[in-house]
Every structure is written in C-alpha cells, then in structure tokens.
Symmetry: C2
Subunit: 229 residues, 2 copies
DNA sequence: CGGGTTCTTGACTATCTTCAACGAAAGTGG
DNA sequence: CCACTTTCGTTGAAGATAGTCAAGAACCCG
C-alpha cells in the first residue's frame, strides 16, 4: 500500500483477489511477528495478501529505516530484482497469503491469466510508488498524515454508525518511517487533527474519521484550519 | 534513473542495451524540449533510452511538482498502469530511443527474450524506486545532493585528467524536484561542496568531482567536514 | 546587445527534529 | 493474577535544517 493521490485511488488500486480458474497452491498462514523474507533472500515466490497486514522495510547502515510499504489485502509483495529480495517483510497482523511461483510472473507458467495479473500488479506497483514519491518529497507532515488516513480509510475503513473507523495496527514509528517523519511528529500531528475534531482517537490503534471532507482537504494541502462543517 | 544506495549500484543498474537478435523497430529521435508522452495518454510503446536524457514529471494541482526520474541511456521508460501513462515525459538532451510495443511486455509478442528483458527492467524499476524512497524520506540535503552526484558520476561520468566530470543537463529546479528540496537549497549545497573542495563547478552544468571518496562518504551520512585527503 | 530566465546569496522564518521526561500499554515471570 | 520491566506514545522546550522572500549576478538566446 502506498500513499497515492486521492483522485487516482479508485482507478489504480483494485485491491481484489485475482480471478483465477486454475487450481491454486495452498494458502500460507503467518502469525504476527513472523518474517516472510529478508533482504538478500532469493525470490522463489510472490505473495498476494488475502487477509492481514504485512510490513516491508529497508535499513540504512546507521539505523535509519524506511518502511517501503504496508501489504494490505489485494497487494502483491515480493517482486525481485536480480532474483533477490530488496526489503525485509514481516507480519503486523496475522495474515493469509496466496503464493505464486516467481516463474509465473516471468512467463514460465502454464497459466497465462495469472501471469497477466502478476504483471499488472507489478505495473500498478510502479505507478503507486510514483505517487508516493510526490508525497515523500513534497508534502508537509499534516498532508502526509491526512493522506495516509484517507488511503487507509478508503481501503480498509469500516463504517460504524455515522462515521468510518480505521485500524492502525502498526506502531507510530512505522508510520513515521513510512512517511518520512519522526514518531514525535506523527503523534503531534494526530493530536492536532484530534483537537480540530477532524478525527477521534478511540484507542491508540483505532482512528475514527469525524470529518472526511476536511481530512481529504488537508491531504491535498488546503487551508490548515477548516471551520467545523 | 533513481538515487540508489551506492553498494547496490553495480548489482542493479546494468544500464546496457538489450541483447536482441530479433529485428528492431526503427529508433526514435527526439530533440530537447519535445514531449514523448503526457500523463493520461494511452500507452502503446515503451522506450529504452539509447542516448540523451529524458525527464519524467508528475504535478500536484497546486503546482508542486515531483521529478519522478531522469531517463538515462539504458533506462526504460513508459511503464503503464491501467493502460495509461501516469507522468509527463519530455526531453532534456537530444535523445534516441528504442521503442518496444507494450504488447511485448504483456506477453503478446513473438520475441520471448525482449519480453523477458522488459519485465526485468520493470522489476529493476521497482527496486530502484525503493532505494529512492529511503533517500527521499530519510536523507539530509547534503546526503541527497552527494548521492545524486555519486550516482550520476557512476553512470555517466567522464574521466578528465585525474578527475571525473559529470554533466548536469537539467535545471537546478529539476534536481530540487527530484530530491525533494528547493532550488535554493540545491544551489547552497552545491556551493558548500565546492567550498569544501569536494567538487568544482566548472560551469553551471558541469561538475568535477575532486574527492570522490569524501563525496561518497557524505552520501552515506558520514561526518559533514572530512579534512582534505 | 538586450531581455528574460536561471542561479546564487543573504536574511529571516517555519517546520520538523532532537532531547528529555512522563504516563500508558503490553509483555514476563513468579 | 499481580508486580515488575520494557516498550510505546504523548507532550514540552529548545535547536537545527531547510524553506521563504527578496535582490542581484550569471547565463542564454534571439
């Protein structure tokens, strides 16, 4: 999952399971904390997330970290380069994964439809990452956090009463390393949105979006203090 | 071209023309300033840059801009998502391009080798973008500029006398929008490196690297003031 | 040569980070 | 199940990095 420009979201994140008549390999189940692969591992499988949440990370020698992406249902993870993984991948929320042989992406696979779908997933990945560039390079902390919440709400938000609710299974430091901020800034920005009554923080890992339009506005860089609707 | 982690550079940027025995379509030649495609255009062709330099950009409504990538020889540009281009692409330096039908990537192409090479290019693209994330999200302005110069020197630097020289055909604002900085910061940072005698600025578009090791050090976040070697 | 763009530099400001402290939550072992 | 320990999250104050605004210099192109 990347932080994409809202208007594009519908167009480019189908987030659906592959349509596939061919018999599948068995689903993989992984518990929170388990590692799916490490940087440097040889790639044998790609995985489409069926349920749960994954975290893809990359480290700098001095300890600085970038969360490359979160893997939400519909996302495909594990694209290789030079046959190797270039991130670590571990499990944030118990997950089920549909594995596909790497050969299936690379064409040595009988099932043309799966090949096609893996390829399209790779291309969506490129496009999503391009949007994410814009976010990392050009957005302020409020815009980043607002964008992040908007994307999550769209993809995995639940409607509870009149509001939509979204779960943040990751730590604040994961959000920070994903958006290019510090944990303190993430925390402060969430507090700020709460004080503006744009969101409510039900518990640390559960956000309720009170004013979706205001949140969307902030994600696009509108005036920082929209009056209560 | 993305700003990748130095140690990986060799492994992941072959930057070579595709090996291809099959007859090619005619090369495309484009002059500086010409547009190859626009955001929203339908994708019919992918292009491998043979010579020259391209610029891929993406705009936010309010005018903020991100330079997604520069297209240097060896790079493949034009990967679609949902059949459409998601960036603008124009020419910074007169370029020659080798076009490949999109069908060739998507498998509807007789030449399996070209299909394979386009696919590998797409996967390299993903990996390169992941490194670039780390750079955008976690590096300081000095590290960004130093990294940028290191990558360019590696890929297109020329040895002149005892030093290597690299051409920067793009404007300072392009560098800024590529690295997530402002033109002023780019300018100041280059001046700083010049005053430290790590680089010399021959003319605005030509940089000479005087102390490659120091530059590499800065790109990795070493102490900011290495003494002259 | 002249006009417009691009680049550099300076002064000032804002945003975000850093450092530090504290409280809340979660994990551990008896 | 509870006390203990550790990790995580929030908040404050201070500081630093990069941004903004503004002016002038250098460059480019007809």
């Amino acid at each position: 999952m990347y932080v994409t420009i809202p208007s594009d979201t519908a167009a480019q994140a189908p987030a659906t399971a592959f349509v596939n008549a061919a018999p599948k390999s068995a689903e993989t189940r992984l518990k929170t904390g388990a590692y799916l692969y490490f940087e440097g591992d040889e790639v044998e499988w790609l995985y489409q997330v069926t349920s749960g949440v994954l975290r893809l990370t990359r480290l700098l020698e001095d300890g600085r970290r970038q969360v490359i992406a979160f893997g939400y249902p519909g996302d495909v993870v594990g694209f290789p380069s030079g046959g190797l993984h270039h991130t670590d991948c571990d499990v944030l929320v118990d997950a089920t994964l549909q594995p596909y042989r790497l050969a299936c992406l690379e064409g040595g696979c009988a099932d043309a439809q799966t090949h096609q779908q893996l390829l399209q997933a790779a291309l969506r990945e490129i496009s999503g990452m391009q949007d994410h560039f814009l976010m990392l390079g050009r957005k302020t902390s409020v815009e980043k956090i607002a964008s992040f919440l908007c994307v999550l709400t769209d993809r995995v938000g639940k409607t509870v009463g009149n509001y939509s609710q979204v779960n943040l299974p990751m730590k604040r430091s994961d959000i920070a390393d994903f958006l290019g901020l510090t944990t303190e800034t993430v925390s402060r920005t969430l507090t700020q949105l709460r004080k503006q009554k744009i969101i409510a923080i039900d518990n640390i890992h559960t956000i309720i979006v009170l004013r979706p339009t205001a949140l969307l506005g902030l994600s696009l860089g509108d005036a920082k203090d929209c009056p209560p609707t």
